[in-house]
Amino acid sequence: MSAVADNYARLQALGVEVLSVSVDSHFVHKMWNDHELVKMVDGGVPFHMASDQAGNIGRAYGVWDEGQGIELRGRFLIDPDGIVQAMEVMTPPVGRKLAETIRQVQAFQVVRASKGTEATPAGWMPGDPVLRPGPDLVGNVWKVWKPSMEK
């Protein structure tokens, strides 16, 4: 979570609000913030740290681990209409890479701004060409994009 907190300004600049959820109480969230996270991130965690001790939210999002009574590492990107556009769920030992989340936010924002007329190819980064799906693009993607263009 400290990685997300540390990149909060970048996320805010993209108009993204952050919400974290775990089965810890909000009291424990406070202690974690005040005693550890504040030493990793200036000013501490700037977003809501929600508490889901009974796992109800985790169940609804498919990240509840019944055996351990915890929530798996799950990341959901929700658009301004409340639609889930992307999700990633991982077992606990491997952390997320926030740069990929930010890339996906930027890609989904391009698609949304185009009202669905544009799509971003594999490996797309901001500034790269986008695809405009339509009759002329069928069989012609190779003219505008190849796998070797992925950085």
């Binding site: 959820v21 959901f76 301004p80």
Partner: protein
């Protein structure tokens, strides 16, 4: 907005759900909450207690309507990754 700080065990809940039925011999156990989060579908609404910038502030997904939201679940506070 803040909420009273009590000693009870608190939790978030999927919004719109009633309280769980009282257990009894004739009461069927409530079915497991269905996983409803799917890409391309409406995100399940919820409300939960939260810690926010020094205070205890309830939060709902609906508070962020009209904005992009990054919702992150993680295994627990004071874990190492």
């Amino acid at each position: 907005m803040s909420e009273p700080v009590g000693c009870g065990r608190v939790s978030g809940a999927v919004s719109g759900e009633g309280p769980p039925p009282a257990p009894g011999p004739d009461t069927e156990r409530k079915k497991e909450v269905l996983v409803t989060a799917r890409v391309g579908q409406k995100a399940p609404e919820f409300a939960a207690p939260s810690y926010y910038r020094g205070g205890f502030t309830p939060v709902k997904l609906a508070d962020f309507a009209g904005k992009w939201v990054l919702l992150c679940f993680y295994p627990g506070d004071f874990t190492f990754v």
